[in-house]
Every structure is written in C-alpha cells, then in structure tokens.
Amino acid sequence: MRSNKVYYYYFAGCIAVSSLLFLIIISLVIASIPAFDFYGVGLFASYFPAIYGTIVVSITAILIATVLSIGSSIFIVEYVPQRIKGFFINLNDLMASFPTIVYGFWGLYELGPFLNSTLFQFLYTYLGFIPLFSTPPTAVSYLLASIVLAIMITPFASSLIREVYSKIPESMDEGIYALGLGKYHVIKIKISYIAKSILGALTLAYGRGLGETVAVDLTIGNSFIASPSLLSTGITIPALIANQFGSAFTELELSSLFSLALVLFIIGLVFIIAGKLLFYKRQ
C-alpha cells in the first residue's frame, strides 16, 4: 500500500546519526593508537591518580544521589498535594537541565567555603582517625566535587525514578491498604516493585557522573595525587583531559589524553547500555 520511496530522505537522517556515532568511536580509537604503541598498557599506570579520582568521586556522588533521589521521588509522588506537585516536578527537572558550569562555579566559590568551615571541618575533627577523613580540609576536594556532582545527578535520577514510580497503578496502593497496612508498607512494596528500574536509573546517572567535566574540574582542586582521604584534593579523567589539552603540544601527549578519553568512553558505554536495559526492562 505504501511505497518506500519517500522514506529514503528520512533514512538519511538516521544514517547521519549512526555514522556520527561510529565516527566518534573510530576517531577516538585511531587517535589513541600512537600512545598505546608507545607506552603500551603502562600508559594507564601513569595516569593512576586520575583513574582513581574518577572512581572515588563518581562512587561517592552516586551513593549520595541514591538516597536523595529515591527519597525525594517518593516524597513528590506520595506526599506532595496534587496542586503543587507540578511545581516540585518542574523545579526538579529544571535542576536536571541547569548548566553544569554554573553548578561548578557556585560550588567553588559558595558551597565549598561553606562546607569547608562546617561539614569538612567536623569530619576532620571528629572522624579524622579514619583514613577517609584524615587530611586537613581544604575548600576544594574529592568530597566537594562529589557533593556538587550529586547535586547535579540526583534530579536526573529522581526524574527517571519518579516517572516509573508514578506510573504504578493505583490498584497497587489500594491492595496494600486493603490488607490493613500503612504508608510505610505501601512505599516499601512499590519501591521493591520497581527495583530494577531504579537500579537502571541510578546506573544511567552514574554514567552521567563519570563523564562530567567542568563542574568536577572546578571543585576537585586538580592535584595529580591519589589520596585515601575524601577531604584531599585530587583529579579525575575528564578534568585532567580538560586541563592538559591546552598545554599538550606533542602528538604523543595529545594521543595519551585521547586514549584516556577512549577508556572513559568505553566504561561510560557499559553503564549506558546496562542502565538502559535495566530501566526499560518490563517489570
């Protein structure tokens, strides 16, 4: 009935999108070859602080975001009255689409100094015996970067979780109340019902956090060290690439940075795909 001719033009857009994707991957691979050739796998050993920092910051941030995103989406769906629900949802989604550079700038000059004289000082004074908080606090640190990152990825995770959570049919609530159970059990059962989607949402949020560049760059302190203390300054892969790119003159230096980007990309891709599969899996 329908001829397919008309679709050729539209197919072109698809081809453009997919070839872009493959170009991105191929260009990164080709650009990384000189560094791999020269250094071999030892390349990554020399970038250990950046790899370490990326893991520390992203994990700390996702731990904070896990609690906050689940908690806040429950609150918005279950407790906020219908009339002002829209306000909370819009606020959350505005936060999720706010420029990350602004978070970073504000984190560096406002949140950092505030936390430094309160939370960080407290952690160092009272919990300093734990290696995790063993260095004197500075205004910028792994922890500050993690908190700023958490502020950025929580609304993202929250909006994904909220979307699934609010679609649970009302019959579920009624069924639970009908058994003489209270709100606590309503929430518990509903959360366990969408557990896979929540895991997927958090995986996607984690993937986002891994690649965040400028906000982390501004708040982590950019020192090329790997410290066990969250109160210490450090570096992440994206921050390192952003900082060194301008001053990288030789092909080999550039290629090394590109190979780091490739690693970041592959790890990120794993999280994207895993997250998508989990999130969209039928309950």
């Binding site: 698809c14 909370f88 550079i101 502020i151």
Partner: protein
Amino acid sequence: MKDKLIFLFTLICTLIIFSPFLWLVLDLIIKGLNTIIAYGIDFLIAEPPLPGDGLGGIGTVLEGTLFMVLIASLISIPISLSTAVYVVMNERSKFAFLFRFLTESLLEFPTIIIGISVFIIFAKGLKLGLNGITAAIALSIIMIPYTTIQAIENMKQSRDKYLETGYALGLSDSNVIKLIVSEGREGVITGILIGMAKIFGETAPLLFTTVTSFNIFLKNLFSPVSAIPVLIFEYAFSPYENWHDVAWGASLTLMFIVIVLFTLTRFLIRRKI
C-alpha cells in the same frame, strides 16, 4: 511510627536536594545583578575587562554563544526531524529500533568525548580549525538526540491520531507525513527548545573546539569566537576579582536564558495536553 519515619526521611531528602539549588539561584541573582547593575545594561554588549581592570561586559561571548547555538540548531534540526520521521513511520522495523537506541545512547555520551572527537575529525582532520563553526558542530551532535527523542515521542501521538485518517482521505505518503509533523509541531518545537537549553550551557566540548580568548567579536563565519560557559570556566579559575564578578553576571545571564527556554517548553507541553 514507621509511617511517620518514612515521611520524615523523604521530606529531609527533598529538602537536602532542593535547598542547595534555591541557594544557588539566590546567589546568582544577587551577585549577578550586582555586577550587571554596577556596569549597566551594556554588560550584554561590551567586551570583557582586562584582568584587575574594573568591570566589563560579555558582549563577545554572548555573540559567540548565540552564533554557535544558531548554527548548531540549523545543523541538527533537519537531521533530528528526518530521523524522528523515519523512526515514527517505521516503528516496528529493526532499523527504527536500532536508530532510536543509538540516538538515546548518544544522549548519554559524555559531552567531553563528543568535543574531543569533533576536534580530531573536524578541527584537525578536516582542518576546520578552532572556531565557532567547529564548536557548533560539536554542539549540534549534543543537540540532535534531545531534539530527536522529543520529536519522536510527540509525533507518535499525532501518528496514532492521523495515520489512518490521512490514508483514508487518499493523501499521499509525503502529505500524510506533513500532516503528522505539523500536528506534532508543538512537540517538535519543544524538542528543539530543550536541545537549545542543553547546548547553551555546554562547556566541556567547547574547550576542544574553539578558542579561549574572550575579546574577539565575530568577523566572519570562521573567526575564532568563544562562548559564555567557557568564559565562566576560565574566569572562575583566574585569581582576579573583577573577572569573578563578570563570571557571576555571565552565570546569571546563562541562567536567565535556560529558565526562559525551560519555561517555554513547559508551557508548550502543558498546552498540548
């Protein structure tokens, strides 16, 4: 008891997540307005100041940002639209599924990666150099998935409404598509605005695709220009108070743009429903 505890817990989570943002917005308004009022409305057109040399404007980077977003939109809108039409009209085909999946994955790519690839392919490979066009290419790649996915979602609704009616009226394929696109146009515009809001604030890819000098106005399409987010990034790292002040003003400007676009999208979405 447990019912009260869970209420308290989720309330605290909500407060913790929203209060920093309100604090941030308040800070931006106070500090940003401070700068803009001190320098006057010329803030939006004047050149940035020299280090330690009083206040200045963000005219150069505002121009650069607008230029890049414009070019990026021109590149991404046709690609997004045609991809969306293909996916919507062939929803059951494996290709459509694949394209949708690829587009969604592209949306999650770290933007720094996109910046680096565009540097490798366009700036170096095709010798385009570091300028507004190269930056706009990077931004368009970031914009495409946002616009495409939003367009798909909205055109699906109008497809379900009009596909059969359209063919029943004896319209040709291309006319049916026109009908569906024009019926879903608010959704398509929403998608474009969402994509624009996203790239207005993008910083990381610009670090690889354009220059970081902020005192150049556009002379031609390929002149090196920078953008507001890059100025904030560089000035934040600088030790100069006056540059920090300009960065606050620039942040407020950026926030204003993003909030306007965001509000527009919400308005369009609400009107549709």
